[in-house]
């Protein structure tokens, strides 16, 4: 059992959750994740670590289905059943390079420890956060601390660049040279970014989010095809070269339980709200 120290909605549908533990901080590194299970009936779901210290870890999550809905209903002082980590391979560190770091939805939070580590390794960090509208962007101040440049992109143009991430990337890349593009967020964003940067010929690392259960290499549900080879995202990833990912396969696998997920959510809502 792990105590919830804080649960706060940051922007609509996206929450920060701080959970008490003194086990995870010792080995935690940027790019790693934890597995949480809310209650006895709950699923095990992976969430990126966004911060940690001797007493707690923090995650940022987006409410999409039953598990994240349950997480969203937690209050300070509640407990969750399972918290395991850190899991996965950390972000591969490089030094003295120029890196564009892109985040969307929960990935904006997931960027935080990664840009911190990039910055501490003397990289030039260009951070770009994107969302449907300005009210869905968050943590710009926190990110600014470790960014040399920070850009905002909104689809409705209420802040920064108007349109999708490609608008920013195409313009920025016209007169800048970067060594790496790094991206965290939903599968569509990581896919889209990989498509764009492929034609630009810039190495691109993306955090993938296939379905997982144990997240220690035991079940194999998170398998992804990288350069034609099957890898387990939980132990071989979750970060991979975006140009080597078999995207159609990943997108299809993410939808395996689509109809059950809907059933689960309506079951949960009926139980909860009658």
């Amino acid at each position: 059992m792990y105590r919830v120290l804080k649960r706060e909605q940051i922007v609509p549908n996206i929450h920060l959750l701080v959970i008490e533990t003194n086990n995870i901080h010792k080995n935690a590194k940027a790019g790693e994740f934890v597995v949480v299970r809310v209650d006895e009936e709950g699923e095990r779901i992976p969430l990126n670590l966004v911060d940690w210290d001797e007493k707690s870890v923090s995650v940022i999550f987006m409410e999409v289905g039953t598990s994240t809905r349950k997480l969203g209903a937690l209050k300070e002082g509640d407990v969750i059943e399972t918290l395991a980590g850190p899991l996965g391979r950390p972000t591969e560190m490089i030094e003295d390079k120029s890196i564009i770091c892109i985040g969307g939805c929960y990935g904006i939070g997931a960027l935080y420890p990664v840009i911190r580590a990039f910055k501490q390794n003397r990289n030039r960090v260009i951070t770009a956060v994107e969302g449907r509208s300005s009210f869905l962007l968050y943590w710009q101040k926190k990110l600014q601390e470790y960014s040399d440049e920070l850009y905002e992109i909104t689809r409705d143009g209420t802040k920064g660049y108007e349109g999708h991430i490609n608008v920013f990337l195409e313009e920025y890349m016209k007169d800048h040279k970067v060594d790496l593009i790094y991206c965290q967020g939903c599968t569509y964003l990581t896919f889209f970014v990989s498509q764009i940067t492929k034609s630009m010929g810039v190495k691109t690392i993306v955090g993938l989010n296939p379905i997982m259960i144990d997240a220690t290499g035991m079940c194999g549900v998170c398998r992804v095809i990288i350069n034609g080879e099957t890898k387990f995202a939980c132990v071989d990833g979750p970060e991979f070269d975006g140009h080597a990912v078999d995207w159609p396969n990943l997108l299809a696998r993410r939808h395996t339980y689509h109809s059950q997920e809907q059933k689960s959510l309506s079951f949960y809502e009926c139980e909860r709200y009658g």
Binding site: K26, E41, R44, L83, A84, G217, M218, A252
Partner: protein
């Protein structure tokens, strides 16, 4: 000879759920012996002076000893005798392959059916459970030494049981959110109710074992980091890495590893979805590839999840199947269809990425291979296609590389296993022992427990003398 007259040639039968009924539920198949059944069966034992059955048991249970007490109706003494050597009698009574361990060497087995040792073991343990919480045996005074055990499978639990009695401080670190290893995530409820495993773990916890869940050694802390706190470490992390066949279409939706399929159903209780949140695909036409206990468990789970037709696809014949006879028999009774001498070579999917068909090739048995079994070879142009909506790959597993990758001075064996001395369980790293599936690859519960028993002895010696 008067003695001969006393011999009852056959085992006392054990009542069980009829096949037609049980395929609709996840409840345990056999009901177990009544007190009267158990006494009758126990009386079949000849109480051999040089009991060959004891030598057949990897944890050296005093078999005639515990059986004698049952024959006399003294069940308290019987379970006490069992627990002297086995911390998991209710588990072993159910899942051990007695037919190749103790029963095969039973004196009676020369001419008749052996004593039903497994059923009697199960009886004694279940009888005790019915009496309420079992008393905890006394431990020796604290030695001040601390031992870490990695993995709460049958091996790790056995080491914990042995070392706690000797007065050491024992902590088990388990990656998952429930203890028990394969007993909990792999073996289905209808073969081994999880309550039984939790009861046996609870007994250890009440004896003073510290159980830490959600702790992935190699990630949460490395073995090296654990040594800052512990005097000795036992690695009992099992063989949890599932194998795939590397054939086209294996990453389609609806294609599972046995580990995933069973973990969803057992550990996460997907068979109770949506009361439990974890889903599982309830296939109509299910193919399970493989011929071991794991394949039988997957096939029988698929039936219970409502499949209309379940096939076991195995590349050799029934005679070569590594599964326990009892499991094959149960699967046959339940209507599982066996496709012998058949090898899948390809899965094809629909436009949404879901498995639709499986292409197989027929095999025939050729020359014996290294294992002494005749090697299956494909028959040319014998390919055929069948319709499936779930396929489960149950062809084997090997140890998870996490521990080896994060412990540089731990020597690896040929196929990713941890190398350990077969008599003591000592690894190449000082203060570190290993046993069970992480050393042997997929083996059995009782072999894991046997390794654990030997390692615990060696660990005790080391903790006492400091000599490696």
């Amino acid at each position: 000879m008067a003695e001969k007259l006393k011999i009852v040639p056959k085992k006392t039968p054990m009542p069980e759920q009829p096949a037609k009924e049980r395929v609709k539920n996840f409840e345990e198949v056999p009901f177990g012996y009544s007190e009267a059944d158990a006494i009758v069966e126990a009386q079949r034992c000849l109480q051999c002076k040089k009991a060959p059955c004891i030598a057949g048991c990897p944890v050296e249970i005093d078999i005639p000893g515990f059986i004698k007490y049952i024959a006399e109706g003294d069940f308290v003494a019987s379970i006490k005798k069992l627990k002297e050597k086995n911390v998991l009698p209710a588990v072993c009574g159910r899942v051990c392959p007695q037919e190749t361990q103790c029963e095969i060497v039973c004196t009676l087995a020369k001419k008749w059916e052996p004593v039903a040792i497994g059923r009697l073991e199960r009886f004694a343990a279940d009888w005790e459970a019915k009496q309420g919480e079992s008393p905890i045996p006394g431990s020796l005074p604290s030695t001040g030494k601390k031992v870490a055990i990695i993995g709460a499978g049958p091996g790790g639990l056995t080491v914990a049981g042995d070392l706690i009695k000797l007065g050491h401080g024992v902590t088990i670190y388990e990656a998952l959110h429930k203890p028990g290893g394969v007993l909990v995530y792999g073996i289905p409820e209808f073969r081994l109710p999880k309550e039984i495993v939790y009861r046996e773990v609870d007994y250890l916890v009440r004896s003073g074992v510290n159980l830490v869940l959600d702790f992935v050694v190699g990630k949460t802390a490395t073995i090296e980091q654990l040594f800052e706190e512990y005097d000795a470490i036992y690695i009992g992390t099992g063989a949890g890495l599932p194998w795939f066949m590397n054939i086209p279409g294996e990453n389609l939706n609806g294609v599972y590893s046995a580990n995933e399929y069973l973990t969803r159903s057992n550990l996460m209780k997907a068979y109770l979805f949506p009361q439990y949140d974890t889903p599982i695909v309830r296939g109509k036409y299910v193919a399970v590839v493989g011929g071991g206990n794991v394949a039988m468990d997957c096939a029988r789970t698929a039936l219970r999840l409502g499949a209309a037709e379940v096939h076991i696809v195995y590349r050799r014949t029934k005679a070569e199947m590594p599964a326990r006879m009892e499991e094959i028999h149960h699967a046959e009774e339940e209507g599982i269809i066996f496709d012998w001498l058949t090898l899948p070579i390809k899965y094809t999917g629909d436009e949404r990425g879901w498995i639709k068909e499986m292409e197989c090739i027929r095999m025939e048995l050729g020359e014996p291979d290294a294992s002494g079994r005749r090697k299956p070879v494909p028959i040319k142009d014998s390919n055929f296609i069948s319709q499936v909506d779930v396929a489960v790959c149950a062809i084997g597993q090997s140890p998870n590389p996490l521990i080896l990758q994060t412990t540089p001075d731990l020597k690896a064996g040929k196929w990713g296993n941890v190398e350990a001395d077969s008599k003591t369980g000592k690894t190449s790293k000082k203060g570190c022992w290993a046993g069970g599936d992480v050393v042997r690859g997929g083996a059995t519960v009782i072999l894991a427990m046997g390794d654990a028993r030997f390692a615990a002895r060696s660990m005790q010696e080391y903790l006492e003398t400091g000599v490696w």
